[in-house]
């Protein structure tokens, strides 16, 4: 099972390139797609989900060219877009039954699977209520259920935990981890903790280009020995930001505890183990500096 993205670029009209010469090979597991707003994550997801064509380049699914034969991918695809709607007059069961029919799934098997999926996303009690009355988080859970309807080999989820409460977020992360053993899951988010909990691989994307493709461990190794905790007076924080790349800050009684990303420590700073968020900030900052140079 392999998805190959080969030199894919995308330009909307005559505007700037949303994606530029993007190359990546994806195997089974959860690929976390990380990047700042406007990096091109959603564009890449839309291309992979066969919603829009790439301007240049080629995508193959198990060796089959997706542009030439999109249905080869669509039959095994589960897709949760970042923004999607529901039909307000249908209830969750009817909506999922409709999408099961659109996906060409067996009616009897889909009914059983819909029951199980609604149980999985914790919507069994409200399954007969019209979707028009659902909250944002509940609609998101319906979206998750529809993405899993056809038992997809390729699951693409764009900001899936947006609007979910902490408990549902944990449920969904666990589900993704478990699904990844036998399929490719592509998870796009800028919530680093989601990636931390689930991803077996991480693709860092910025300004439409692939900055890095690595395992979380390799990404962490990039910043090994470069993360420092520095306690400084709150009033000095702005000045410190001018000199150092500063990540998370926490106010405590002895001052502000700042995580500094630097090759050499600020005076009095102590080394601390790096997190994925540190690695993300460091790699992104290095890429931007390189691009500016």
């Amino acid at each position: 099972m392999k998805l190959v993205i080969d030199s894919v670029s995308k330009q909307y009209g005559r505007g700037p390139w949303a994606l530029r010469d993007f190359t990546l090979e994806i195997d089974t597991g959860v690929l976390g797609l990380l990047g700042p707003n406007g990096a091109g994550k959603t564009t890449l997801m839309s291309i992979l989900a066969t919603i829009t064509r790439s301007t240049q380049g080629r995508i193959t699914w198990n060796g089959v060219d997706v542009a030439a034969n999109p249905d080869a991918l669509r039959t095994v695809l589960g897709y949760l877009p970042q923004d999607f709607g529901v039909y307000p007059n249908l209830n969750a069961v009817e909506f999922l039954e409709y999408l099961a029919a659109v996906k060409g799934l067996d009616a009897a098997a889909s009914r059983r699977r819909i029951d199980e999926l609604l149980n999985l996303v914790n919507l069994t009690d409200v399954r007969k209520r019209p979707l028009g009355g659902y909250s944002g988080g509940m609609k998101q859970r319906v979206g998750i259920a529809q993405a899993l309807l056809n038992d997809p080999r390729l699951l693409i989820v764009d900001e899936p935990t947006a609007g979910l409460d902490p408990e549902e977020r944990v449920r969904f992360r666990n589900l993704l981890s478990e699904l990844s053993g036998e399929r490719i899951v592509i998870l796009s988010t800028h919530i680093v903790s989601d990636i931390e909990a689930t991803a077996t691989d991480i693709a860092l994307i910025s300004q439409g280009a692939l900055v890095m493709h690595a395992s979380p461990e390799d990404l962490l190794r990039e910043v090994e020995g470069k993360v420092w905790e520095w306690v400084l007076p709150s009033t000095d924080l702005n000045a410190a930001r001018q000199r150092y790349l500063i990540g998370n800050t926490t106010r405590r009684s002895d001052g502000t505890h700042a995580r500094v990303l630097a090759d050499t420590p600020p005076p009095g700073a102590q080394p601390v183990p790096p997190t994925l968020e540190d690695a993300y900030m460091f790699c992104l900052s290095r890429h931007r500096a390189g691009a500016a140079a």
Partner: protein, 527 residues
């Protein structure tokens, strides 16, 4: 807070948002075509016994104004009727609702924005009127007052009234939907009829112009028959004779009359604020699902009502039923049933009662009456079902879910069309069965052509416009003019043998389906 400033900026922002859309250019192009049709005498006003006015400034101004105040007050309604819905869809409304903005300011601003869009079209026709008099050398000199005063004093108040009616329709629970689009057409007919028969001057100024031209013609030709005619004509024979009309003498009572319509428009805009819910989701929800709420204690289902006591990972995907793909033979019928269910879902019980009543009437009424009356009603009744075809995905933002499915173009689109055909066939089944039983093949062919044509028109307009309004507006007018008056060439239902043209509508069906397929294909990046 300066309310004038708020009003100005709200109207300005809404206006700019509209005029920067591609659809606005199409609207202006349509208006230019209207001007062209008048300038090239495809449309003209016939008065008295085959008279028309000499093309001086007054007559050209009046001619263009009549086009504005009649056609644009109909078409303009459908063009601008989406301002509140757009704020709701874009969620800008929720931001506005959180500001201190009074409701009346909001509805007034939206009215002004509607009016500004319509006024742009009037402006195009004002310039076209000037160009027309330059090009036609029938009368000189050009008097800008005579040319443009009818626009300012007749057309613009009519546009303002249309703009405020739009707001009222958009804020009233039932009228904001497709029902309002259909009912407005009949209101428009009633307002025009007011110009012909009423004692008050109508908003379109027809009665005002009727009186003035009648007096002028009486001076020019005292032998003119007493049953004076005043009609905007499309096609047919041109006027044989001309007379000179120097325009309306704008006396204070006449000006006061026009001012009354402006005041009425302002009143309607303020009245709309009474019904405006300020994007309150509870009230919106209440209106949508009033019936279901009768048994529901909460206005909307909140996260808190869902069970939260279950363990974080209660079941896992290993418990999910493995999915089978249905056989190719079963897939299409299954999808047609799903599309049909989606189409019918949400209709109140009385919708089905009326549909059944019409079906029974089709079976029991005398055949000619059933074809010309009952079938007419039976095939306007499902208009709101048809109008969702092709645009439901856009309206409810489900395109990404559907278009990433296998064979969305070759399976879902035909299934949607087939569901539309089924609705049409079922609602008109009484007539179809009777024609079959008496072996009236010609009429049956017309009935079949209609069954195929109506959903095809809905599908094509829905896919191309992404909105239900064009079908609701066009179908209502077509239904009234064509089948309603048994007008040959436009009677797509074939209500009489003389007016039926089944081959033409079968051909139109094929064209519409091809257009739908082609447009949907371009929507699907990978189709």
């Amino acid at each position: 807070m300066s309310y004038t400033r708020v009003l100005y900026h709200m109207a300005r922002a809404d206006f700019l948002e509209r005029v920067r859309r591609y659809s606005f250019l199409l609207t202006l192009a349509g208006t230019l075509y209207l001007a062209y049709a008048v300038a090239t005498e495809k449309m003209w006003i016939l008065v008295g016994n085959e008279y028309r006015g000499v093309y001086n400034s007054a007559w050209i101004g009046m001619l263009m104004t009549i086009c504005c105040s009649t056609w644009l007050s109909l078409v303009g309604f459908y063009i601008v009727k989406n301002s509140i819905r757009r704020d709701s869809d874009t969620r800008v409304g929720q931001i506005l609702a959180a500001t201190p903005m009074p409701k009346a300011i909001y509805t007034l601003a939206k009215t002004l924005s509607n009016f500004a869009v319509l006024a742009c079209m009037v402006l195009v026709l004002m310039l076209a009127a000037l160009a027309m008099q330059f090009l036609r050398t029938e009368a000189r000199p050009i008097s800008l007052w005579q040319l443009w005063s009818p626009f300012v004093l007749v057309a613009l108040p009519a546009m303002l009234l249309t703009a405020s009616l739009v707001l009222l329709f958009e804020t009233l629970p039932v009228l904001r939907s497709g029902v309002g689009n259909v009912l407005y057409f009949f209101l428009w007919i009633a307002l025009l009829a007011m110009g012909g028969t009423g004692t008050w001057d109508d908003p379109s100024g027809l009665r005002l112009l009727y009186r003035s031209t009648r007096a002028a013609l009486h001076v020019a030709d005292s032998n003119n028959p007493s049953d004076f005619q005043f009609s905007l004509t499309i096609g047919g024979t041109h006027a044989a004779r001309t007379f000179i009309w120097s325009g309306i003498d704008w006396t204070p009572p006449l000006l006061l009359n026009r001012l009354l319509w402006v005041t009425a428009a302002a009143g309607l805009a303020i009245l709309a604020s009474v019904f405006f819910t300020r994007f309150d989701p509870a009230k919106e929800w209440f209106r949508r699902r009033a019936r279901s709420l009768a048994t529901s204690p909460a206005l909307a289902i909140s996260e808190e009502t869902t069970p939260t006591s279950s363990p974080v990972v209660a079941i896992t995907s290993t418990h999910l039923t493995p999915m089978l793909r249905t056989s190719a033979r079963q897939r299409f019928p299954q999808l047609v049933v799903s599309e049909l269910r989606l189409m019918l879902k949400g209709q109140p019980w009385w919708w089905y009662v009326v549909a059944c009543g019409l079906l029974i009437a089709e079976l029991t009424a005398p055949l000619s009456a059933a074809r010309q009356g009952v079938l007419l009603a039976a095939w306007i009744w499902p208009i709101l079902l048809w109008s969702q075809m092709g645009c439901r995905e856009t309206r409810h933002a489900t395109t990404a879910l559907l278009f990433s499915s296998e064979r969305a173009l070759t399976r879902q689109l035909p299934a949607l069309w087939a569901a539309g055909v089924l609705v049409t066939a079922l609602t008109g089944a009484g007539i179809g069965i009777r024609l079959l039983l008496i072996a009236d093949w010609q009429s049956l062919a017309a009935w079949i052509a209609a069954v195929l044509f109506i959903p095809s028109l809905a599908l094509a307009l829905g896919i191309w416009s992404g909105s239900s309004i064009p079908f609701e507006a066009l179908y209502t007018v077509w239904w009234y003019v064509g089948p309603g008056h048994q007008l040959s060439g436009l009677d797509f239902m074939g209500t009489t043998l003389a007016s039926a043209r089944p081959q033409s509508f079968a051909f139109a069906t094929a064209i519409l389906l091809a257009l739908s397929y082609w447009r949907r294909r371009t929507h699907l990046g990978y189709a």
